[in-house]
């Protein structure tokens, strides 16, 4: 029987081929029981083979938890069954694709997954429902067209992202693509990047003021800048470090205002060494480089990196790409032309107004293809490859907004291009508008998902698209981003209207909720992070959007931005406006609240049976938790007013109050003082691991312990902002803690 290994042996880079062969051997060893499951888990993650929801062999079907029976008990990681379908992530450096690669990506989705390609918020592709046995073939076929899955997951350097407009952007300093490409290649499998405690993400931007590469939320970000030295223009990068979203977002810190281009790769290498050596390894939730930099301070971190840089042996790869970088330019497929009097198809003008960007090269445009929920079918991908061959050549990019763009389209071709996109169902307008909702996989496929981010995104997209023609321009350009949990894969912190999923107990049932996060800034490379305002049942989120946007249209002053409007109105007022939406009708009155968008199953009924309705009995714990919520909110108000010390104190107090509510659930007479609360909480819930969320572990408890042990000596916006975020997450987790206690009690 022929194999892809034989068929493609001539076309694979020998190093990559050896790497895939090694993985195949590791699969065989694991099957023979000769490789530990934990070791295998990390090795597959480093090849982009990720777990997927229900891969522990259990799934709640809405009535009961079912055991999924597979043919083997073999595991591919702790509590992860071999036969359970998984996710394959595919790295696409800077989102760059050509039509041949698109064809192969389409074929593989069809043959090994479910016929769908999903674009992620970091310009990757993901396949879902893939069997681990098929992954070496997937890797070989991708490798034959120059794509790797290596280090797409795991504690490694992830996909290097860049602005999809790089090279054609009107405001960029220069095209960052040669640098992003060189960085991706240089750091792939680099020995100095194999000893990280957590993942490491790098992004490139061509300019500061646009969203561009979202540098502020990356472990390492580089913004193109130039300097004139001795009458010559010199290229370099403003380099930032230690940014990140996750549960608690950190702003990146300026590392150096000008790193000359020849120093960029050695700098990344030196940073990797310092991170590998000093970064946290045991406590996973404190292991990103942002925690190391927060601990050391950016100046000390810089000193260590600079010192490390001096010890590096020169590597020709640091600079050998530079000769071509200055001259690098993409070759357009066609001559530049302008859109003149051609007949425009129906719907063209609306599409043109949102989906077309005029390049700095006159006569050429970038056409955005809006992908609902970041998805397209194999057939669409193959058709799109053909369309790209006809209209734009090799210059295709995925975007962090889960879309695809065709660059270097000759403007006069736009009506024909639009007709072709419409033919394959990819001609929807609304790119980069409120309709173009970004969402992580959430409960659809992610093991960590709490609420259905895709279900909500689909619903919002449908509702907003239906009324998009009547939406005010100010609202049209807002962005919605949704994460299924606090981990921010949907990038909710940097949206105008952000949401992250959570679950709340009502009586003995659970209700899917989303935290409403407002005040984030997409532009300026993810210039500001939003803060949670209030948690609202999932089914009422469309009303939240209506209310906020209606009010913005009604009350905004002149050309007041959304962020300025929110600041002016204030969180108190905004929260009051949404307060009634937090009330949940009893199940018997409206059961729709007790299932999630797009999923008719009752939302985790657990094993508790039907109990009293919400609102009938309010326990002291519920009162205490509501009080903790209020304290976090007040902390936010002080943060907004610049009273960082008060924000810090109230956030800390909120955590203590929430912790005490759990302690008193077990020991009603427990004393109300900080030391005793911490001690009791630690003994009863942390040390016993009763409270620890299965995936997040006890990370939220650490927020409280750290703040209690080391109160801040100086109060800054950064520190207070972080503690307020941490307090909110801690209080949310205590809600879950009470659920766990209730479940244990019921059993």
């Amino acid at each position: 029987m022929p194999t892809w290994e034989e068929k493609l042996s001539e076309r694979l880079d020998p190093q990559l081929a050896a790497e895939i062969d090694k993985f195949e051997t590791e699969i065989a060893l694991r099957k023979q029981g000769k490789l530990d499951e934990k070791v295998f888990a990390e090795t597959r993650l480093r090849r982009g083979c990720y777990g997927q929801r229900y891969d522990n062999g259990h799934r709640h079907d809405g009535i009961r938890s079912q055991e999924l029976r597979y043919t083997t008990d073999l595991t591919k990681g702790p509590d992860t069954l071999w036969d359970a379908p998984g996710m394959q992530r595919i790295k696409i450096p800077f989102g760059g694709l050509n039509p041949d690669q698109m064809d192969v990506l389409a074929d593989l989705a069809e043959e090994y997954a479910d016929g769908v390609l999903h674009v992620t918020t970091r310009q990757d592709f993901q396949y879902h429902f893939v069997h681990i046995d098929d992954t070496p073939s997937i890797m070989r076929r991708l490798g034959a067209v120059g794509i790797t899955t290596r280090e797409a997951c795991g504690n490694s350097i992830r996909n290097v992202t860049a602005c999809p407009l790089a090279g054609v952007c009107n405001t960029e300093a220069f095209d960052v693509i040669p640098y992003a490409r060189a960085m991706a290649k240089f750091m792939l499998g680099h020995p100095d990047a194999q000893n990280f405690g957590r993942k490491f993400k790098i992004a490139f931007s061509g300019c500061r003021q646009e969203a561009c590469g979202l540098v502020n939320m990356h472990d390492m970000g580089a913004i193109a800048v130039t300097r004139v030295e001795n009458g010559k223009v010199r290229r370099g990068f403003e380099v930032y470090v230690g940014g990140g979203l996750g549960a608690v977002p950190h702003d990146a810190k300026l590392f150096d205002a000008f790193v000359p281009e020849e120093e960029l790769l050695p700098l990344a290498q030196a940073i990797s060494r310092v991170f590998g050596r000093l970064g946290e390894k045991k406590q996973r939730d404190r292991a990103r480089i942002k925690f190391l930099i927060a601990k050391l301070g950016v100046e000390e971190f810089k000193r260590l990196v600079t010192e490390e840089r001096q010890t590096l042996q020169p590597d020709p790869r640091w600079t050998e790409y530079l000769e071509g970088a200055g001259k690098y330019a993409e070759k357009p497929l066609k001559s530049p032309t302008f859109l003149n009097g051609q007949k425009r198809p129906e719907g063209f003008d609306a599409w043109y107004s949102t989906n077309v960007y005029r390049q700095k090269q006159a006569g050429y445009v970038v056409a955005s293809i809006t992908l609902p929920l970041g998805d397209l079918s194999s057939w669409q991908m193959r058709e799109l490859a053909g369309i790209a061959r006809r209209f734009s050549g090799d210059s295709v990019r995925t975007t962090v907004e889960q879309n695809i763009v065709l660059r270097w389209v000759s403007e006069t071709d736009l009506p024909d291009l639009y007709r072709e996109l419409r033919r394959v169902g990819l001609g929807a307008p609304g790119a980069g508008t409120i309709v173009d909702v970004t969402a992580c996989p959430g409960t659809d496929t992610c093991k960590l998902g709490i609420s259905s981010s895709r279900g909500l995104a689909g619903e919002l997209r449908t509702q907003l698209a239906a009324k998009s023609f009547n939406l005010d321009d100010a609202v049209k350009n807002l962005r919605i981003k949704i994460s299924g949990c606090f981990n921010s894969c949907g990038q909710h912190h940097i949206a105008d209207l952000g949401f992250y999923g959570m679950s709340i107990n009502v009586g003995n049932r659970k209700v899917p909720h989303f935290q409403v996060v407002l005040g984030g800034k997409w532009r300026d490379n993810a210039g500001a992070y939003g803060l949670p305002l209030v948690r609202v049942p999932s089914k009422r989120i469309p009303v939240v959007i209506d209310r906020i946007t209606d009010r913005y249209v009604r009350e905004r002053k002149d050309s007041e931005s959304f962020q300025d409007f929110l600041k002016r109105v204030g969180k108190k007022d905004l929260r009051a406006m949404l307060e009634d939406l937090t009330k949940i009708p009893p199940y018997e009155v409206d059961p729709s609240f007790y299932s999630d968008w797009g999923d008719p199953r009752e939302y985790t009924i657990g094993d508790m049976g039907v109990g009293e309705c919400a609102g009938e009995v309010v326990s002291p714990a519920q009162f205490a938790l509501a009080g903790a919520d209020t304290l976090v909110f007040d902390a936010q108000l002080h943060l907004d007013s610049g009273e960082y010390d008060l924000a810090d104190q109230l956030a800390y107090k909120a955590m203590l109050q929430a912790a005490l509510s759990l302690v008193r659930a077990e020991s009603p007479e427990a004393r109300d003082d900080a030391d005793s609360t911490i001690q009791e909480f630690r003994t009863r819930f942390f040390d016993t691991n009763i409270w620890g969320d299965r995936y997040a572990g006890n990370k939220f408890a650490q927020y409280l312990f750290l703040r209690h042990a080391s109160p801040p000596t100086t109060h800054t916006n950064d520190q207070a902002h972080r503690l307020v975020e941490e307090a909110q997450l801690f209080v949310d987790a205590v809600y879950r803690g009470h659920e766990i206690l209730a479940e244990r009690g019921a059993r």
């Binding site: 029987m1 229900y54 079907d61 597979y70 064809d103 429902f129 279900g455």
Partner: protein, 176 residues
């Protein structure tokens, strides 16, 4: 030429009767009842937002079922993921699974008999470009296997839309 991964698509008699979202609930209920023989049903995925896409997908360990909207022709698709023995056995097993799922849909009370499938023609798709490439040679080679399963009176037409598509065969003149 071998069938290893194989798809069968049965077309709906009345396209307008297929309301794709109905199948989210229906497929979830199949999982609750685990009512598809020889399949470990796992999850339901809603892809109805994709134009001419897989519609609603029911994922199983052995193969995926979907209310498939490809080419704008709604139908029931079944894609087997692993061989079930020889090519003939794999084809028979796939056909059996597809017909079983079709019978469940046709009997589904909530659909009130609206959705029925053509039984005199269907499509067979080889979902493996290595073992069964899309070319005339492979098509000729697969015919004897098809004839064993569908009978010698059946008509087989090489129906792949383009050279990059999978080997697709329209089987007509049958009664399954």
């Amino acid at each position: 030429m071998e069938f290893s991964r194989l798809g069968i698509k049965l077309f709906a008699i009345d396209s307008s009767a297929v309301r794709v979202k109905d199948f989210v609930q229906i497929f979830h209920s199949w999982i609750q009842k685990q009512c598809v023989d020889n399949h470990q049903l796992i999850d339901v995925h809603d892809y109805s937002h994709i134009h001419h896409g897989p519609g609603i997908l029911l994922v199983a360990h052995e193969g995926n079922f979907s209310i498939d909207m490809a080419e704008g022709k709604p139908g029931l698709a079944y894609f087997r993921k692993k061989p079930a023995g020889t090519s003939e056995e794999t084809l028979r097993a796939s056909l059996k699974a597809a017909l079983h799922a079709a019978s469940l849909i046709e009997a589904e009370p909530s659909l009130e008999g609206r959705v029925r499938f053509l039984k005199d023609k269907l499509v067979v798709i080889s979902n493996d470009r290595l073992l069964a490439p899309n070319n005339a040679t492979a098509f000729e080679e697969v015919k004897p296997t098809l004839a064993k399963v569908f009978g010698t009176k059946a008509d087989f037409t090489h129906a792949s839309a383009g050279t990059k598509d999978r080997l697709t065969i329209l089987v007509s003149g049958i009664e399954v």
